[in-house]
């Protein structure tokens, strides 16, 4: 790794002369060279160790098999497209329900105690239950009750389980955001005559959301992978198609295909999160300056 700006900044503070700044630049260049050489040696050795190992041909045949890649690609891709649609639908619902739960939990005063208590119980309970169990209970259990008018679709109940589970986590993210807004904002709003709900709706929540967007995007990436857990209900999404291929042929290349597809979506989200966070930080600095 090479951080040319950091050493020069330190050097400048110690001795603000021109010569030392040049020396620092040279040190930075030498650091970059060392980093490059050591990286090449390190990764080269690791790669060499893998590729020359005795079992590599079989590992390659079972994990990185071009023929299997071609064969499994269409099934995994179409399954992955289903993942994306389920993910987008679930995310919209989660952002909404989580906000409702967080607002319920942030209401003040004894009169709202039952609502607050419900929100706390919901969050504690759901966060403590493994997601897979929630999916199985809702996906197989509820339809088996055979209640009139209640849908039986495994996809419906799988998404419902994801929305419930992620709403509990996301509500806590929102709440952290709401708590991070200075108390004076709440008091000012209340003294202007806004009700509790109005205070949340117009004053606290807009500022809170802005504070927690990076955390929300993090949840995005997490959900995008967890959505595939619905496969336990028999839904044939991307990872399941890879599993089916693996179980049939004992070949793991399908998982590699699935991993690539997930990365294609999650890496841009991660880059966007960083870019957004950085832009927001700069804007706030500009505002306070």
């Amino acid at each position: 790794m090479n951080w040319p700006s950091a050493p020069s900044a330190f050097a400048a503070r110690r001795d603000p002369g021109n010569g030392s700044r040049r020396r620092a630049r040279e040190e930075g260049a030498r650091g970059a060279l060392i980093a490059f050489v050591s990286s090449v040696v390190f990764f080269g050795l690791a790669l060499w160790a893998i590729l020359t190992s005795e079992a590599w041909p079989q590992v390659q045949r079972q994990f990185f098999n071009p023929e299997a890649f071609v064969e499994v690609w269409p099934a995994v891709l179409s399954g992955f497209w289903l993942d994306i649609r389920m993910f987008l639908g679930a995310e919209v619902l989660i952002l909404f329900f989580a906000l409702v739960v967080a607002m319920a939990r942030s209401l003040r005063g004894p009169a709202f105690f039952p609502i607050r208590a419900l929100a706390v119980v919901f969050i504690d309970l759901i966060r403590g239950v493994p997601l897979i169990l929630l999916i199985l209970i809702l996906g197989f259990g509820v339809p088996a009750l055979d209640l009139p008018g209640v849908p039986k679709s495994p996809m419906f109940w799988g998404i419902a389980a994801l929305v419930i589970s992620y709403s509990a986590y996301t509500a806590e993210v929102y709440r952290a955001g709401i708590d991070s807004v200075p108390e004076s904002q709440r008091m000012s709003a209340r003294s202007l005559g806004l009700t509790q709900v109005q205070t949340l709706r117009y004053v606290l929540v807009p500022q809170a959301i802005r504070n927690v967007i990076p955390a929300l995007l993090n949840g995005f990436v997490s959900l995008q992978k967890d959505v595939s857990l619905i496969f336990v209900l028999g839904v044939r999404e991307g990872v399941r198609e890879a599993q089916i291929f693996n179980a049939r042929t004992f070949n793991y290349t399908g998982y590699i295909v699935a991993a690539i597809l997930f990365l294609v979506v999650s890496i841009p989200v991660a880059r966007f999160t960083d870019w957004y966070t950085e832009r927001d930080r700069r804007r706030r600095q500009a505002m306070s300056a």
Partner: protein, 311 residues
């Protein structure tokens, strides 16, 4: 009525097996395998070598002392966790009951092992098929032999060949189906990695792709939940499940299969296993003398006929 008798039979077996869990009882449960061990050992040698040679056993590559075993002197056999009936009774492969347990002890005896020398371990499906060396000599959990799988592991000759069967609840319309064509419009399901699943996709080819479950228990839950209309199992599993786990469900029919579509179960070994010729020889002998059929008769069949759906 038939089902009831089978159920009672199975339950009494379970009760008997539950009666005592200590080691003494386990060896008592396999009395038929132990006494003949010595005879099998001595008869094996003259079969393969010319009479009069003194080094008969030494020259036999399949003699226990010459076998390249994971742990010398013992046959390490892996099965699933848990193992299901009718393949293994009461999730205890050491009791010699259930088809696969019985076949393994019969085969081990043929090879010259005593029952004590058969050591069971458990592996998941995935561990067993991952590349690299394995901890077991053989893995027995209804692995269907396919060409693609055979490229990465070794299979013994088949120890059982079966058909597929369709299971549904009596109140579903699908029970009226008489041909494969009749099944196309229904939602079908099967367990992942089974020939049952391949059969749905390749032979029945329903309008909606089959739902795929991790276990038969999950498939059953989906059937209970009304998410699918029927499940495809191999026939012995269908018999067992309709008798014990889903008494309200029945076998709609056996599914027709060509020779190459038939589901052949083989014992799994690591790729290029030097054990394979010896395992195969023991199984071939068991087949020739009728032991495999007799064990299948004992553990896997049920009285009475079930209809076979037309092609």
């Amino acid at each position: 009525m038939r089902k009831l008798t089978l159920l009672v039979g199975v339950l009494s077996l379970v009760v008997a097996a539950c009666g005592g869990g200590d080691a003494a009882d386990t060896t008592v449960a396999t009395p038929e395998t132990t006494p003949e061990t010595t005879t099998a050992d001595t008869t094996a040698a003259p079969d393969t070598t010319a009479p009069g040679t003194t080094e008969a056993t030494v020259g036999d590559e399949c003699a226990v002392e010459n076998l390249p075993l994971k742990t010398p002197g013992q046959l390490t056999v892996a099965t699933g966790e848990p193992a299901f009936e009718p393949w293994v009774v009461d999730d205890d492969p050491t009791n010699g009951q259930g088809f696969e347990s019985a076949v393994v002890y019969a085969m081990a005896e043929k090879m010259g092992f005593t029952a004590d020398q058969v050591v069971w371990i458990r592996t998941g499906f995935d561990e067993a098929i991952a590349p690299g060396p394995k901890e077991f000599d053989i893995n027995v959990q209804q692995y269907s032999i396919t060409e693609e799988r055979d490229e990465v592991v070794d299979f013994s000759v088949p120890y059982y060949v079966t058909q597929q069967a369709l299971v549904a609840y009596g109140d579903s319309e699908i029970v009226n189906a008489t041909s494969l064509e009749d099944l196309k419009g229904y939602a079908l399901g099967a367990q992942i990695g089974t020939t049952s699943l391949d059969y749905i996709e390749e032979v029945i080819q329903p309008d909606t792709p089959p739902a795929v479950y991790d276990t038969n228990a999950d498939a059953k839950s989906a059937l209970d939940a009304g998410q699918i209309d029927a499940i495809v199992f191999d026939l012995p599993t269908a018999y067992y499940i309709t008798a014990v786990e889903m008494p309200d469900a029945s076998i709609v029919g056996a599914l027709p299969a060509s020779e190459e579509q038939a589901d052949k179960f083989g014992m799994l070994m690591e790729n290029d296993s030097p054990l394979k010729p010896c395992i195969d020889r023991a199984l071939e002998e068991l087949r020739a003398e009728g032991t495999l059929d007799a064990l299948a008769e004992e553990w896997l069949t049920q009285e009475g006929d079930i209809p076979v759906l037309s092609q």
